[in-house]
């Protein structure tokens, strides 16, 4: 899309007309009223994604990169076409910089076990932040245990923003790797990642950005960010589960040792010696998730068909609206009030545990996530056991937020609050 808000598309988003693109919101041809506010955990799938997956299996399916017959060529074309779609989506320089993985979690584990293992020795430091998802904590802890490296953590402020002065102070001669969430899943904070990358590069430190919560909400240009790695999952971007992306700068990927061994990642194998395939195949051992990649390609096409200008205009309206509504509820405290924030409301209610909140909202056909959101250090930082989180996607409307607030009113009454 060409940098403008499409009024007609914005109207589709505002009125909830976009819901007709998503089968989950339809029952017998009618809107079923589902209020889905858990896109941060996983987004619903538009029909075009289901069709792309179905079409592959029904009409163009065979294993890829192997067969000389037409079906295999068709499947290969679709799979590699999806890689090109991702490349263009992230504005990566080369197609070979796009590695298909199972998801964000696998991408970070891959990096910890390849470049991480290569570069981190005893006393070296990995720098992450206090708002990371467990998937950007545990792989590094495991690596630190085996290598003797040390995990350092950038603190966050009361608003849920990174303490950038502390960040700068924590970068030292021992820092060999920095891994940061682009957008926090528990707080919604959009981190100043371009600034972080610039700061790290002054010291020659590579930076991994966890984009799982960012790519559904904003355009990402890896060349502009100049990050060394960018990772995300397909299923939060309206694509299938089990497919995700690891972007890495070609020169870094080329230096990295392989992750998993197997078919497709080799050039030649004898029992004495194996030479590895060039990028990207080197990091895609075994038959990949062909249908997942094709589905992800279709999801990206769908999102780009709406355009991030329009998506961002709509979500800004919802964000303001939601903030105002929640501010009017006595005893409700939002956790995460960063100035720069994705459309996500994490909150606690006085005297009512989030788990009870979740069950009540479910009964009202409002789907939210309750718990620690795989970010226990964030919960501990704000001294809450858990929060209720409403995270929005492109299909959400003001009516969804109204439904949320009405349901919260009912449950407060029930609990005598």
């Amino acid at each position: 899309m060409s940098g403008v808000v499409s009024e007609s598309l914005l109207t589709r988003l505002r009125t909830g007309n976009l819901r007709t693109d998503f089968p989950i919101f339809q029952t017998d041809g009618q809107d079923n009223g589902l209020v889905y506010l858990d896109s941060g955990a996983s987004a619903q799938k538009p029909q075009v994604v289901l069709d792309a997956v179905n079409n592959l299996y029904a009409n163009s399916y065979a294993n890829i990169h192997r067969g000389v017959y037409k079906l295999s060529e068709d499947a290969t074309k679709l799979y590699e076409g999806a890689r090109e779609t991702v490349r263009s989506f992230l504005n990566a320089r080369h197609r070979k910089e796009i590695i298909f993985v199972r998801g964000t979690t696998e991408a970070i584990n891959l990096l910890a076990n390849t470049i991480g293992r290569d570069r981190l020795g005893k006393g070296d430091e990995v720098l992450i932040t206090h708002m990371e998802h467990h998937s950007n904590i545990v792989p590094w802890q495991l690596l630190c245990q085996s290598s003797g490296a040390v995990l350092k953590v950038v603190p966050i402020t009361e608003a849920g923003e990174l303490d950038m002065d502390a960040f700068a102070d924590l970068i030292g001669p021992q820092t060999k790797m920095i891994s940061v969430a682009h957008v926090s899943n528990a707080l919604g904070t959009i981190n100043p990642v371009k600034e972080i990358v610039a700061m790290a590069h002054e010291q020659g430190i590579p930076v991994i950005l966890d984009g799982a919560q960012a790519v559904p909400h904003m355009p990402v240009d890896v060349q502009d960010l100049d990050c060394d790695f960018y990772v995300f999952s397909g299923h939060k971007l309206y694509g299938p589960t089990g497919i995700g992306v690891l972007y890495g700068k070609a020169d870094l990927l080329e230096q990295m040792p392989p992750y998993e061994g197997g078919g497709d990642m080799i050039e030649s194998v004898t029992f004495e010696k194996t030479t590895f395939a060039p990028l990207p195949a080197r990091f895609e051992a075994g038959t990949p998730n062909i249908a997942g990649a094709v589905g992800l390609g279709a999801a990206i096409d769908y999102v780009q068909g709406i355009g991030f200008e329009t998506i961002e205009a709509h979500s800004a309206e919802l964000h303001r609206y939601g903030n105002d509504l929640l501010a009017g509820i006595p005893g409700l405290r939002q956790i995460g009030t960063a100035k720069n924030k994705a459309t996500l409301f994490s909150f606690v209610l006085d005297g009512i545990h989030p788990h009870d909140v979740g069950t009540f909202l479910a009964e009202e056909n409002v789907a939210v996530r309750t718990g620690h959101h795989c970010a226990q250090p964030v919960m501990e930082r704000f001294q809450v056991p858990a929060t209720t989180r409403a995270s929005l996607g492109i299909y959400n409307t003001k009516a969804d937020l109204d439904a949320l607030v009405v349901a919260i009113g009912k449950l407060r009454k029930f609990f005598g609050k």
Partner: protein, 160 residues
Amino acid sequence: MSDLRDLYQSLILDHGQNPRNKRSMECHEGGQCRCTEGYNPLCGDKLTLFVKAEDGVLEDLSFEGHGCAIFTASSSMLTEVLKGRSIEEIREIQNKYLQMLTDEEVEPDPEGLGKLAVFGGVKDFPARVKCATLPWRALEAILQAVDEDKVKSEDSVATE
């Protein structure tokens, strides 16, 4: 909301908001008090259960921790209902209670459960079953320890 009302019967609401026996006890090596911790990582429910046992009878029970209404009510009512009962009685209640909440095959039999029967409705909310069972799972560890003590003391009696 009728199902929800079943789930959050007034008894559960009452105990959830005004838990009984929510206090710690002093536990030390060789003392009569035992404690054990329970944790539900999915929702962050945390519990320490304290039990004072004498001659195979739980003289006093209490708990500390935080969690949702169902977890809190379940912990509270556990301490209330089991106070003064023998290990044998408690095992019977515990089995019935866990069966009521977790056994798909068996029709729930609230007979003998007294007011604990109010938790029967939780079974219809699979995501919440763990909240209601956590204190009872924690109890299991304590009962085993109390049993072992009993065996030890019987052994020592027998060898004297």
